[in-house]
């Protein structure tokens, strides 16, 4: 218990640092008007389509809620050039595969957009570059800028 308490400040600082970086990369458009950074949701569903185009690739995922009602969620990623540098392509996702994602939900009522913090395969492996930084590190981002989606 004592060890957990000692680790707590470290975890808090690390989480704060990650959060800062997650919203500080320069942007094609800013995230805040569209996605609620105060909320985090997790989804799991079946890939319907993967559109790997500019300015932002979209992953369409059919998700059933706890009542069995199916909704089509749309995951918006950072710019494809950044993802290409992470090894992504038009074949990164295949229709029919199961994915899980955690992220910030869209603000408008009745919409099912998601700005992902991470996306995982069916086996639980997290896909590198699937978060808000799109694989950017403080070292290669050229410093902080306005939060958003490049």
């Amino acid at each position: 218990m004592r060890r957990i308490l000692l680790l707590f400040p470290v975890v808090v600082v690390a989480a704060a640092a990650l959060q800062w970086f997650a919203v500080s990369v320069d942007a094609h458009h800013s995230e805040a008007p569209f996605y609620d950074g105060e909320k985090t949701v997790s989804i799991r569903g079946v890939v319907k389509s993967w559109v790997f185009r500019n300015p932002h690739p979209f992953l369409y995922v059919e998700v059933a809620d706890d009542k069995g009602v199916k909704n089509d969620w749309v995951l918006e990623f950072v710019g494809p050039v950044r993802l290409i540098k992470q090894g992504w392509s038009a074949k990164t996702f295949t229709p029919g595969e199961i994915v899980s994602a955690t992220g910030h939900p869209s603000r408008a009522a009745g919409t099912f957009g998601l700005s992902p913090l991470s996306v995982s395969r069916a086996d639980g492996s997290v896909i590198p570059g699937s978060g808000r930084s799109g694989g950017l590190t403080p070292e290669n981002s050229g410093g902080p800028g306005p939060g958003g989606i490049n």
């Binding site: 990369v25 320069d26 942007a27 094609h28 458009h29 800013s30 805040a32 008007p33 569209f34 996605y35 559109v51 790997f52 185009r53 500019n54 300015p55 932002h56 979209f58 749309v74 918006e76 710019g79 494809p80 050039v81 950044r82 290409i84 540098k85 869209s106 603000r107 408008a108 009522a109 919409t111 957009g113 950017l136 290669n140 981002s141 050229g142 410093g143 800028g145 306005p146 958003g148 989606i149 490049n150």
Partner: protein, 236 residues
């Protein structure tokens, strides 16, 4: 006389080579700094929104513009200086009469004409018309005749436009492996004083990544995630 013919022929060939488009003579190569290559951004300094020296019209225009008017949502490329500010690489190719800039961002190619004609109003374009010159170790690119751009001065919220009077002067200076680009923007219809930006880059061996096609429908889709009530005029 017989000796003159081959000499003349050689001179003609040499002249043709020197006059060929794209050829950089040894003299020019000495005079111009070597900026050619692919560059990766390392630093970006842009003015804070509340520090912009807007005139009353600039303030009013900023109030009038909201997110849904941003040209980026219709796949319109970013312009100088913002195209330098996102974390994408770009290349510089120096030729005798021009400098060609190729950006990963938005797949843009710009040309600055060195020693060419001056800009005229017939040159109005999204990226304007650029004239380049070398001064010491610095390449100076003077661009005028930009079209009106809702995000031309500030391309992120709250967003501030630039008018057809927008003018940018870019200064490219290389010190070792650091390329510094200082940009000064003037726009008497919007600004009371010039605004300065600075970007720094380092060489990279990575090839430029081709910019995939932009989908206008997908580009505009995120606007649907904004509550209409959060838009100034309730219109997406």
């Amino acid at each position: 006389m017989g000796l003159l013919r081959p000499t003349f022929a050689a001179a003609a060939v040499a002249t043709a080579i020197l006059m060929a488009p794209g050829h950089v003579s040894p003299l020019q190569a000495q005079a111009a700094p070597n900026l050619s290559g692919i560059w990766q951004r390392t630093r970006s300094v842009t003015p804070e929104s509340d520090q912009l020296p807007l005139n009353v019209r600039g303030v009013a225009l900023r109030e009038a513009i909201d997110e849904s008017l941003a040209p980026m949502y219709d796949c319109v490329p970013a312009t100088i200086p913002h195209i330098l500010g996102d974390p994408y690489n770009f290349s510089i190719e120096q030729q005798r009469d021009r400098v060609i800039f190729r950006f990963e961002k938005d797949g843009v190619t710009r040309t600055a004409w060195v020693g060419g004609r001056a800009a005229t109003p017939s040159d109005y374009a999204l990226h304007g018309y650029s004239v380049g010159k070398y001064e010491g170790s610095t390449l100076i690119v003077d661009t005028r005749f930009y079209t009106f751009d809702p995000g031309g001065l500030e391309d992120k919220p709250p967003m501030t436009p630039s008018s057809t009077q927008k003018r940018t002067i870019e200064r490219y200076t290389r010190t070792g492996d650091t390329l510094t680009v200082d940009v000064e923007m003037t726009d008497p219809l919007i600004l009371k004083a010039p605004v300065k930006f600075q970007f720094q880059f380092r060489p990279t061996k990575d090839a430029l990544v081709e910019w995939p096609e932009c989908d206008p429908e997908q580009s505009r889709a995120p606007l649907n995630y904004m509550p209409v009530s959060s838009l100034k005029y309730g219109i997406r």
